[in-house]
């Protein structure tokens, strides 16, 4: 005779909540992916405007990730390794771009990049244009993606015991030598994950970009334009291709995260 297993009601609650959440996320996406015909998808993939907008999305997001890597890595290291007055305040500043409504980000950037501001005038004098330019898009995407990079890499640095760095320095390595021989080899994976997070966040940005640079058109702006101009049927295939790209990026993220845990 086998004993009857008793399952706690909380487990049932947890399982049902999980099913609802998964369905909530997947159902609209699956519907959207399933609705365009295969012929529409192929035709969209051949559309030069679509290709160029997706490429621009990837290029500008990739540049945002690269800038985040260059400037965010030393900053994340400082936050992870040093305690200083006002550190909590600085950390909350980093999170600001996550909380601010996206159009407000666009307006904030335009307000310093315009001709009425000394910074805008200075940039203009050396030929840097923000409004309606690829540079402007990269600036916006860096603004929104940077917190994801800094927070991920900071956690990566924090996971490395500082004693390893102490030992390295006692053996004769400088701070720079220690960073490149000990810290970087142990933290590079979190940097890759941070760059993927930053890119993924940047690819999905619309609200801030549409204020700063409607043209040249990145993929989310093109989806919006096709939706308002031609309706759902013409915007869906572009959205599907963008989702595939995002899915690929997040798949990479998961692979790196799992390897890190192992």
């Amino acid at each position: 005779m086998t004993a009857k297993k008793h399952t706690d009601p909380f487990i049932w609650l947890a399982v049902s909540s999980s099913i609802i959440i998964i369905a909530f996320i997947l159902f609209p996406l699956i519907e959207m992916v399933a609705q365009p015909t295969f012929a529409d998808l192929i035709a969209t993939a051949k559309d030069k405007e679509v290709i160029s907008s997706i490429w621009l999305s990837l290029y500008t997001s990739g540049m945002a990730a690269l800038i985040s890597f260059l400037f965010g890595t030393p900053f994340a290291y400082l936050l992870a390794r040093k305690n200083f007055w006002g550190k909590n305040f600085i950390e909350s500043i980093i999170d600001l771009p996550i909380m601010i409504p996206h159009p407000v980000v666009g307006i904030a950037i335009l307000s310093i990049a315009g001709q009425n501001h000394w910074l805008g005038q200075a940039m203009s004098s050396i030929g840097i244009r923000i409004m309606g330019s690829v540079t402007g898009i990269i600036v916006v995407l860096t603004f929104v993606g940077l917190p994801f990079y800094v927070n991920t890499v900071k956690a990566g640095f924090e996971a490395i015991p500082s004693r390893l760095e102490n030992v390295s320095r006692s053996l004769g390595a400088s701070i720079t030598g220690t960073f490149f021989r000990v810290t970087f080899p142990l933290a590079w994976r979190s940097m890759v994950v941070g760059m993927i997070m930053c890119t993924a966040r940047a690819v999905s940005e619309f609200g801030a970009v549409v204020i700063v640079a409607y043209h040249p058109m990145i993929a989310p702006v093109m989806i919006y334009e096709r939706f308002t101009a031609y309706g759902l049927k013409y915007s869906q295939p572009v959205a599907v291709w963008l989702i595939i790209v995002c899915l690929f990026l997040f798949l990479l993220l998961r692979i790196f995260s799992v390897q890190k845990k192992n």
């Binding site: 015991p161 390893l164 102490n166 030992v167 320095r169 006692s170 053996l171 004769g172 400088s174 030598g177």
Partner: protein, 345 residues
């Protein structure tokens, strides 16, 4: 040689006060203290990782107070080994050699000797992730010694090891110290390690050095009640001294020293107290009758707690003796202890 003069460190929630310590050239010195006493903070101040408020640090008579860690010529081995997980055993050991080049060549004169002495030859190409605790500690030691530092700092290097590995590694440390003659400052809270390895020791508590001296001095002549308690003197009583007698509560105890003007306490090691049910079999000095109040069995030995007048004594006796004497709480026994073993503090 390590000389720490008037070291003061302020950290959030902890500070070191006026640390003065000298470890002579070639000496094996232990810094003993309970958890949170500030032992590791002293080590990390010496190595230059923690900013110091005040004080000076000298290594081989050269002041290093304002030098970065890489210029101090100090090796350190941590309790958790702190091996570089992305490097092999060999690359861990040789990590520091490139920074100690002489005439453009990496120093290697000690390398084979150290690798051989620490029995690391079969492990050299292995990843450090798959080593046992004892092997990891040997690699950490080899890595620190490979660059031939002036002094070696050990931060509880044996605490995380299994008892078997601990004994082996302790022997290795002793042998290496004898063979290399290196100056060692080791932080520990283990008395056995201090007895086995060190020539001198210091006791630290709440960021202050309580006592410095040779091992017998500190363990048998503690200078403060804290040190007495820390080194295992379980019988510490406040006392009024009168010539070669001390009065603890209502109990008059003979002591060997007459010069106790500034002393306030007496302390007796529990193993220095003889216990018997029969008064005749005990030495006459300080022979007192008491009642067993509690017995704490530790396996091969027991803590025997005794109520004598208004004073509570603790004696340590072998469990066999406990069984032979048929002792139990409430039974009367006699204790005695040599006046020479009563320490005035």
């Amino acid at each position: 040689m390590i000389r720490i003069k008037n070291l003061n460190v302020e950290l959030s929630g902890f500070s070191l006060h006026d640390i003065d310590l000298t470890v002579e050239k070639g000496e094996f010195f232990t810094l003993l203290g309970p958890t949170g006493a500030g032992k590791t903070v002293v080590l990390e101040s010496v190595i230059g990782i923690i900013p110091i408020e005040q004080g000076r640090i000298y290594i081989n008579n050269k002041e290093v107070t304002n030098l970065p860690p890489e210029k101090r010529d100090i090796g350190i081995v941590y309790q958790d080994h702190a091996l570089f997980p992305h490097l092999t055993v060999y690359k861990n050991i040789t990590y520091g050699l490139r920074y100690h080049k002489v005439n453009g060549k990496e120093p290697g004169k000690n390398l084979s000797f150290i690798i051989d002495r620490l029995s690391l030859v079969p492990l050299l190409e292995r990843s450090v992730k798959h080593l046992s605790g004892g092997e990891k500690q040997r690699v950490a030691l080899a890595r620190a010694l490979a660059v031939d530092p002036s002094v070696l700092l050990l931060d509880e290097p044996l605490s995380a090891l299994d008892p078997n590995f601990r004994e082996d590694t302790r022997e290795i440390l002793k042998r290496l110290h004898v063979e290399t003659g290196i100056t060692v400052l080791m932080v520990t809270h283990d008395f056995t390690e201090a007895h086995f390895l060190a020539q001198r020791t210091a006791i630290i508590n709440n960021g202050r050095i309580e006592q410095t001296g040779s091992i017998p001095e500190v363990f048998y002549k503690p200078s403060t009640p804290f040190v007495a308690e820390f080194v295992g003197m379980k019988n510490i009583f406040s006392a009024i001294f009168n010539g070669n007698k001390a009065k603890a509560g209502n109990l008059e105890i003979k002591i060997s020293s007459n010069n106790n003007n500034s002393k306030k306490y007496i302390a007796i090691r529990p193993e220095d107290i003889h216990v018997s049910v029969d008064k005749q079999s005990l030495p006459e000095h300080n022979s007192i009758k008491g009642i067993v109040s509690k017995i704490l069995n530790h396996g091969f030995y027991c803590d025997l707690c005794l109520k004598i007048s208004d004073v509570n004594f603790t004696a340590i006796i072998p469990t066999n003796s406990l069984i032979n004497m048929n002792l139990a709480p409430g039974i009367s026994v006699y204790i005695s202890f040599d006046p020479a073993n009563v320490h005035a503090i």
